[in-house]
């Protein structure tokens, strides 16, 4: 009963393909227009029994659907138009809707228009309504989403709105089928006695110009287009087909005279101002808000949460709470999972491999490598899940949006424009899209500076290492240690940013910033569930891939002997990998963690931070020194030894180094693409220097007290 097809063919007379021949060409046509996402397709589907795609985001209907509505007064052909915000065409969709409404020369022009107006977002919808009223087409206003509006305490007086619009207004809830009968009656009446709606006045400045132009419009043009719409379109400089040059020139002159001495020099703005004035009046007249207490309540909360003084401490306290809660709640789950994998699972796999006669190297890869590495990763699933849930709650409630204010103030310290904090905040998830995201900055210097700072933003991959190491060494205080790493990360971004600004990037100007804050609301379980799942899946997918790849690489390199020995039968310390790690190890002695296990982990960390944990597990389970699979005691023993009796400062130094040095190869590649080789290499050098200096400082100072 419906046919969906590209816009052009819809309006051609030769419709009625064999398979869709059910639409009666003689039936009156009614178009469904309105803003995106206001329930047009829902209404269309209810009325015609069709299945147009409906969803909770704007812009789903991209082609035009037609269907037959068996209305009480006879069949009506219903046309579901794509949603538009304006009749000033900015996209093909909008152009189509505009043409359907104004071009009488077009076949299939509707006899009446049902315009869906979202009662919960009246202003935006009324702006389009004002434009549609200018076309003079007989209208019925379907006031949708009245349930949402009611829930928000917004009441819209349909009768008064109807009087102002000069057309029937039918309050309805398309999703529940409420108000269909009233709509049926209103449309039947509009088809039987078509009447143009009222006309929103455009003010003493614009109206005379419109009148002057209207008097000169040629008959051919007014036969094809509604006169008022045509005058407005011509004066605001919109191209209209078939208008004689003389008329167009007159319109241009009239328009130019209107904006004489105006900053913006655009007559369309003058018209928009008048339409908004009309919208404002209508809203003041028809909308009543139940107890504005809610807004003032949220205003008051906002003032505290975004204040210059209390914003930052509250933000820090909230984030501290998140980390403490996460690490506390996840610790037993993680331990249990890891014990399960290290013990029974690894044992069973090892046994099975021996049984089928697999050699030691293969067992080494599967048991010590993949099972140990992936097992460590799986151990982090509860942690990540809890963390994602908490963040989703914060985000969904609208709090994180307020935190953006706090971050923005910090950005200003560095002299970066407000929007630079978009890539930096994204960097907390992953540095790679953050580097690519610097593209949104218009100024090249802003882009480069931000790109250099991104690696200091601690990404989610680094979080796993913090948690593993901190829970081994700091027990109950693990959450606080993790939190401290995040604070340090922010401090590094600001510190390095200030340093670079004083040296490489002098004299940059900022730009204004306005944030559109979402309202506070109670988080919904479904949204939190999906968000957590999406992020967890993405984390597992990237981390899983990275881990299997690096584990295999590490296994290969650690199976190749240096000097004597054969492939697969050499102590790790004497493999290519072990030798490389041992060569690097002394560099970390001043920082208190100069052991090859650590430098091996940092080495793979250069490739990807997700691999640090798996490499640690792998190197310890490969080297004999580490008993059977117990990671924590082995780690403790190592740090005790390398730090000369100050393991805690050494561990902190290790974490600090991990935070500050090059995040991963993917980030390096992204930087290379965005800012070129020289700055990328400079960046790597800077990261290593900063990381090393900080780590040494942390250990040397820390071991004085600890």
């Amino acid at each position: 009963m419906t046919d969906v097809r590209p816009a052009k063919t819809l309006l051609a007379k030769s419709c009625c393909d064999e398979h869709t021949g059910t639409v009666d060409e003689r039936a009156p046509r009614v178009a469904l227009a309105g803003n995106p996402n206001v329930g047009k397709s829902t209404l269309f589907n209810t009325l015609t029994g069709a299945r147009q795609s409906v969803g909770n985001w704007p812009g789903k209907t991209v082609s035009v659907a037609r269907g037959t509505w068996r209305a009480s007064g006879g069949d009506v052909t219903l046309i579901d138009l794509p949603g538009t915000y304006s009749l000033l065409p900015g996209s093909p969709d909008e152009a189509l809707t505009r043409d359907v409404l104004v071009d009488h020369g077009m076949d299939g022009r509707p006899d009446a228009v049902v315009i869906a107006v979202d009662a919960a977002n009246l202003a935006r919808n009324l702006y389009l309504l004002a434009q549609v009223m200018e076309t003079g087409v007989p209208l019925v206003v379907a006031l949708t989403m009245v349930d949402v509006a009611r829930a928000r305490g917004v009441r819209v007086d349909a009768d008064r709105l109807s009087a102002l619009v000069g057309a029937p207004v039918v309050p309805m809830v398309p999703r529940r089928g409420e108000g269909l009968d009233a709509l049926d009656r209103a449309v039947a009446e509009a088809l039987a006695n078509p009447r143009p709606p009222a006309v929103p006045p455009l003010g003493d400045h614009v109206e005379p110009a419109l009148a002057a132009l209207a008097a000169e419009l040629p008959a051919a043009s007014t036969a094809r287009f509604p006169a008022r719409w045509l005058s407005i379109a011509l004066i605001t400089g919109e191209p209209v087909p078939g208008v004689p040059d003389g008329t167009a020139a007159l319109a241009r002159d009239l328009g130019a005279a209107l904006v004489d001495g105006d900053d913006l020099g655009d007559p369309e703005v003058l018209v928009a101002e008048q339409r908004y004035a009309w919208v404002h009046k209508v809203i003041a007249d028809v909308v009543t808000r139940r107890g504005d207490t809610r807004t003032t309540w949220s205003d008051r909360v906002d003032r505290v949460l975004t204040s210059r003084w209390s914003g930052a401490p509250i933000f820090l306290a909230v984030m501290w709470g998140v980390f403490v809660l996460t690490t506390k709640a996840a610790a037993p789950l993680t331990a249990a999972l890891q014990a399960l994998i290290d013990g029974p699972v690894a044992g069973a796999a090892g046994g099975a491999l021996t049984a089928i006669g697999a050699g030691a190297p293969v067992r080494g890869l599967v048991v010590d490598g993949i099972i140990a590495g992936v097992g460590q990763l799986l151990g982090f699933v509860p942690l990540m899940a809890i963390m994602f849930v908490l963040l989703a709650v914060l985000e969904d409630s609208g709090y994180l949006a307020r935190a953006a204010f706090v971050v923005d103030r910090l950005m200003r310290l560095i002299g970066l424009p407000g929007r630079a904090f978009l890539p930096l905040i994204v960097g907390f998830g992953c540095n790679v899209p953050a580097v690519a995201g610097t593209r949104i900055l218009a100024d090249r210097r802003h882009r480069l500076l931000t790109g250099l700072l991104v690696p200091f933003v601690t990404c989610s991959a680094r979080l796993t290492v913090y948690v593993l190491v901190a829970s081994v060494f700091f027990g109950d205080a693990a959450g606080t240690v993790v939190f401290a790493m995040y604070v340090l990360s922010i401090a590094l971004v600001i510190g390095i940013g200030l340093l670079l600004r004083r040296t490489l990037f002098r004299g940059m100007a900022g730009e204004p910033l306005v944030l559109d804050l979402p309202p506070y609301r109670l988080p919904t379980l479904r949204l939190i569930g999906t968000q957590t799942w999406v992020k967890l899946r993405a984390f597992l997918r990237t981390a899983g891939g990275v881990i299997v790849a690096t584990v295999t690489l590490v296994w290969l390199l650690s199976s190749i002997p240096v000097g004597q020995g054969t492939f697969g039968d050499t102590p790790v310390e004497h493999s290519v990998y072990g030798v490389a790690a041992r060569t690097a190890a002394p560099a970390f002695a001043p920082a208190g963690f100069g052991d090859w296990h650590n430098s091996a982990a940092l080495l793979t960390g250069f490739v990807a931070k997700e691999a640090v944990v798996s490499t640690t597990a792998q190197t310890y389970s490969m080297s004999e020194s580490a008993g059977d699979g117990e990671l924590a005691p082995a780690l403790r023993a190592t740090f005790d030894r390398t730090s000369g009796g100050h393991p805690l400062p050494a561990v902190l130094a290790f974490l600090v180094f991990l935070l500050a040095y090059t995040p991963c190869m993917a980030t390096v590649a992204a930087q290379w693409a965005e800012m070129g080789g020289r700055l990328t290499l400079f960046g790597i050098g800077m990261q290593l220097t900063v990381a090393w200096l900080l780590a040494v400082a942390v250990f040397q100072l820390g071991s004085l007290f600890w």
Binding site: R124, Y276, M319, L391, P433, V514, K535
Partner: protein
């Protein structure tokens, strides 16, 4: 000056971060109207709106693959704050 123009002026003059709610109050319209006006100026090309989707602090996007349309970010649309910025000065 009309509210539509005032809104643009207020955004241009914002030296401190302010919320759209506050701008609406200064201009004397409802938040809903202000949103609609922002959309108007955005269509006109004088303003840009970037969805900041604050999902990302702390652990955010989880992986690298979640950017949308070449821009970073994740989470459902419109749940985060949006950044409004003037693309060109209204004063020529």
């Amino acid at each position: 000056m009309s509210p539509l123009r005032r809104l643009l002026e207020e955004i241009t003059a914002a030296h401190e971060p302010v919320s759209l709610e506050e701008i609406a109050r200064r201009v004397g319209v409802t938040r809903d109207e202000a949103e609609s006006m922002v959309a108007y100026w955005t269509r006109k090309g004088l303003l840009t709106t970037d969805d900041l989707t604050a999902a990302c602090p702390a652990t955010g996007c989880g992986g690298c693959a979640l950017g949308r349309n070449g821009k970073p970010g994740c989470g459902p649309r419109g749940s985060g704050p949006a950044l409004l910025a003037i693309t060109r000065s209204p004063h020529r």
